[in-house]
Homo-oligomer: 279 residues x 2
Amino acid sequence: MINKENFENYLSSIIQQDYIVEKSMNYSLLAKSKRLRPLLLLNLLKDFNVDETIGYPFGSSLEMVHTYSLIHDDLPAFDNDDYRRGKLTNHKAFDEQTAILAGDALLTYSFENLANSFYSDSLKVKLIKLLANYSGKDGMIKGQSLDKEFEGKQVSIDDLLQMDNLKTGKLITVALIGACYIANKEEYLNLFEQVGKKLGIAFQIQDDILDVTADVKQLGKSTSDKDNNKSTYVSLLSLNKAKDLVTTLLTEINDLLSDEKNHFDNTKELIAKLANRTW
Amino acid sequence: MINKENFENYLSSIIQQDYIVEKSMNYSLLAKSKRLRPLLLLNLLKDFNVDETIGYPFGSSLEMVHTYSLIHDDLPAFDNDDYRRGKLTNHKAFDEQTAILAGDALLTYSFENLANSFYSDSLKVKLIKLLANYSGKDGMIKGQSLDKEFEGKQVSIDDLLQMDNLKTGKLITVALIGACYIANKEEYLNLFEQVGKKLGIAFQIQDDILDVTADVKQLGKSTSDKDNNKSTYVSLLSLNKAKDLVTTLLTEINDLLSDEKNHFDNTKELIAKLANRTW
């Protein structure tokens, strides 16, 4: 299984520190993180027998989009969180204006970084379409909008599933679909759409479970859902049923990946590791 | 000279109104506007003997980036403005969270829109690099950061020129450079870098002049610079000297455009019209 050390070094070399917005971008981008999305991409590339460093430009653009979404989501107008990735949120360490600009700059640079990469023009265009579509108004942003709409309301499990598929699942799916494009394995697009959706939901339920079983220090971020009066899988299902649902989803993912000629050993190992995460 | 009616119709057909973020995107994107950047693009294309409708996808992406920057710049954490483009600012008409998401979504969709256009992959990549680089951390966003840094400080004319070249000049230059790429007239890149820079500054000085000579109703936006304790060309130079500087810059632009075999008649006519604007 590919681990994240070399990718971390690559990521830390991309953005200079010449002025405050660049410092603010790196403050959040380089904070301690699981790097779930880049690691899914790199491990799936390895399973496709592609040198994983080919995935670095797309992996870093994907992590920039994820990081911008965290910075904006932590703002006072959103969840108003104080801690993220083990340290003060961006707007607390800098200020609101700088945090908004750093998010905007990370989003913009994610596309510039891809456009400047060594990929062919045709692959660049495919990856830009994918990243923009899944993170934009029809994907992640729609999920963030639903999150706000649901705040303080009685919502159903189906509502939560729809929201989390957009808010979390879409960007996880980008990692897997992106690997299919980069490895030129488009026959797997449909399979990894399904895997990404299930994994995104499993990951979000785990977050809800950790919100009630772990503490801020362990998680490295504020646990604001209860304060913000948000429904969670735990509040709707009970803790044990939420845990069961995670197990079911991970088994389904394993089954999906086992039907294929390709054994996807690295991807499976990464997902198994995620199943036992405590942060 | 190309006017904006057909482009307005095109622009209004791009984004659906299926949920609140899309409504908020269109609220600001389709508000009354000079459409300066798209019009520069379309008129320069006409001067290059290219059907101007070829410029619509890039012109709309450019207008989306400009609009996102206005939405975020009006937020309470920035200029805290109440009026823009003749109506309430986005966060006043909706709320802060929706305004931040609508800005993020316009920025993201500007790249998706370009990636989905009829341009060749090679042209798409060139235009995405241009748009991202000139609007991002090394361009417009750097100008917005300087704007904040200069607030309440005694700054020099050179400081203002540097800031406005980044904050306003860069995106105006994108329109002109983009036309050179689309028309495959890259021998003019250097000329239009110079024109864009001068035009951006002239436009910004005009804004400062209108801030003290026009009223909110005429401008369609709040005149917050004095309230926010910002230095302007008028406060540093006097009203008459600021007016003289606009005239000098526009003459220099005309001279630059007159040295060439191509007469750039449509572009010159548009710029002459801008010289006498009252809003």
